[in-house]
Amino acid sequence: MYTFPKNLYTDIRIEDVNYTEITYRNGELAENLRRNYMGAFIRIFDGNRWYYSSTTDIDNIQKEIDKLALMAKDNEEIMEHPIVKKFEVNRGEFLQFEGKGILKVDHKEKLALLNSYLPILESKEEVKMWRAVYLDKKITKEFYSSKGADLKFDYQTCSLAFRYSLNVDGKTLDSRYDKTDIYFDRLKGLENELEKRLNNDIEYVRHAKPVKPGKYTVIFAPVVAGVFAHESFGHKSEADFMIGDQTMMEEWPIGKRVGADTLSIVDTGQILGSGFVPFDDEGTKAKKTYLIKNGILTGRLHSATTAAALNEELTGNARALNFEYEPIVRMTTTYIEAGDKTKEELISEVKEGILVLDYNHGSGMSTFTIAPRISYMIRDGKIAEPVNISVISGNVMETLYEIDGISKEIEIISSSLGGCGKMEQFPLPIGNGGPYIRVKNVTVQ
């Protein structure tokens, strides 16, 4: 199919993207987009440096390969290079969404689905500004390499996203309700959930008072626990931060205790949803990777480059935002495994603390942060008044030891409009989630 340059490693990723976006703003149709495009990303490696090209000229990929190869240096030993040796060679067609594909759903049906939810938003006088969005994306990828990979696979998601600004007695709140799934039919019948969320938010904003800053025991709902896992430890597990760094290697040896013995964190591209990555953008098949198992550092996330550098196994985490970018180490679906308490038990054991039910955004370096959107005080083991919090934060490595309770319930959430940002590549769809988790000594502002 393609003639690969001699004495160089080459791979090609071709993306065929179908995308739908329908948006209503305060009752008026603002966007009704059907988009289809193809793009390709070519990589050439000479053992010393990578050369990349991103192109929309699908008919001339061979020319682009040949042009790019001129920048690289001949290396007769390239196939023996540790990175090249790491690459998996997978072949075959893995098209899961041909029959149940989102492309089979008529555009009018998508429009009608979104329309069916609008009366709920329009019925609340406290909702001053709103946006209702239907999105779907089906991507078919082809991947070919000079080592022999020959893959074609697909994945899809569809989402409903409601964004609304409330004004209740002069007090305001920007909030949201999202649902993402892989099948269109599962976006139907969400009226009660949307209505309940709206009513709860209206009551929240009516009664919320500023929190008294300080250190608290905080219980994170699954959606918040997911972002906590992602920000607090997921990014630390991305092995590209460790390449050639002796201090990091010594600080993060596999087998080191890094958290409470009830804590296990997993990343996997195998779960259907927005973090579903059947093959990564280097052609590696999805795996399930324990980052932490029972409090012990058990694994990290790899591309072929990092796996070779650290002499560890591939995990299927080399991902690119789209055909304009090279794959780098990214999470897929990251979650905390379930514990043994009920949510009610976790709350009942707190004298004074905070329950965080939803968040606006999070970040993670040495310090993790979460900007909560919906939070309640816990007093004497019971959920009490709603509170406004600008940010909660803590030292990652100390906080993982402060987890003292994990619930049996677990929920995996797919991202809808947003995703994960790393350097220039944002937003990458991911999944995250977990149980309710209770963390002591969290700084609340």
């Binding site: 703003r25 305060n26 008026e28 149709l29 603002a30 966007e31 009704n32 987009l33 988009r35 495009y37 440096r49 990578w50 050369y51 990349y52 090209s53 991103s54 192109t55 929309t56 000229d57 790019l68 001053k128 500004m129 600004s165 007090k171 305001t172 709140l173 920007d174 904003v205 919320a208 500023p210 800053p213 990014h235 931060f241 390449i243 050639g244 760094d245 002796q246 201090t247 993060w252 304009e324 090279e326 606006n360 999070g362 970040s363 993670g364 370096m365 040495s366 310090t367 993790f368 942060t369 979460i370 900007a371 406004n388 600008s390 940010v391 934060s393 350097m423 220039e424 700084t443 502002q445």
Partner: protein
Amino acid sequence: MIKEKYINRVKEISLNVVQTEVESVRKKDILKTGLRVYDKGYIGIAGGLGRVDEEELERRAIDNLSLKVPYPYNPSKELKKEVDYREDVLSDEDFVNEIDELLNILKDEFPDFTFSNKINITEVETRLVNSMGLDLGYKDRLVLGQLIIKEKASANVFDALALYIERQYRRELFLNIIRETLEAYRNPVKLPKEGKLPVIFMNYDITPVSKLIDELNGYKVGTGASLFKDFMGKMKFNENFTFYQSAEREDLLDAQFFDAEGVVNEGFKYALIENGRIVSPYTDKKTAHKFNLPLTGSASGEYDKVPSLSPRNYKIEASDKTLKELLNGQLAVAVVIASGGDFTADGVFGTPVQLAFLSNGERLIGRLPELKLSGELYSMFGEDFIGKSKDKSFLGQNALAINLDVKYL
């Protein structure tokens, strides 16, 4: 039927740096074309990547009128303007060689640190042309270096950051930003006190103004969801505080002088808050029309999407004072990395600061421990507002100075 064409082209060379070595060279040249047609109060759009058949795009755009997306506003017309801010930069080959040399210098000068992430040269061209005599063109080219710095002995993912944004590549300027950062990094210092202190933010840091941008959204103001809904024309902030939408040449990022609807502001700027008084929210044609607000040219949109209201580039008007003069003998907390903070719905601000230095207004003099900052929207740009410096004495950028409550994390 009115026809309009929107073209966006990005050419880029991007060097990825890993462990103070160029790990990869990425080239891209991506052309995106959108064809819009306006008829009987509706808009139809079709877009394509790379080489496109414009007649085919036009046919698809006309077909898409049946999707019934309302656009009962007059497209911009009878204005021709071309702006080309590009300056000479290195050829691709020379750029790669130069960055190899730069990294060798860094390895020699800072053997206890490693440097990673991207250094790019990005050229952007945008054009908006229609059958009503509109022909707007913008070309620009930026050198953008964003180096993540890690102390070899540190177990952190990264410890510092060096940002370079200019139209030309100047090795000494980039090196001096890194030198000043790392010399200060090597000198741990403490706060003069915990409590209210002058805090300075870099020109491009939107952390302190993010709430202003949210609440000045014209749709939010018009529908009554904004904190500022009753404050148009009212004096709410410091009389020295002016906040405006800008596409001036000096802005570097987001200097495109027209918006996605072809609106061009006089002098390429529009004041939203002027001398403490809220003048107007930002608006696109729909918002301005619907709520009878001034049109500020604040529509954005991808090549194949309907232009819609989006925040553009907002900045605080610089004072006539240097940072040293603004600080008036006080030391300031200079914020380099403050990630994850936010404002509450009612305007209370809080953020951790992962990397901050002490500044005397001329240079960074030492590295502070991790901090937390807090403030309140109306105070931050009211009695606690100190001003924006006229000079670029914060790592090559203008500095915004505000009194905030500062504590150790």
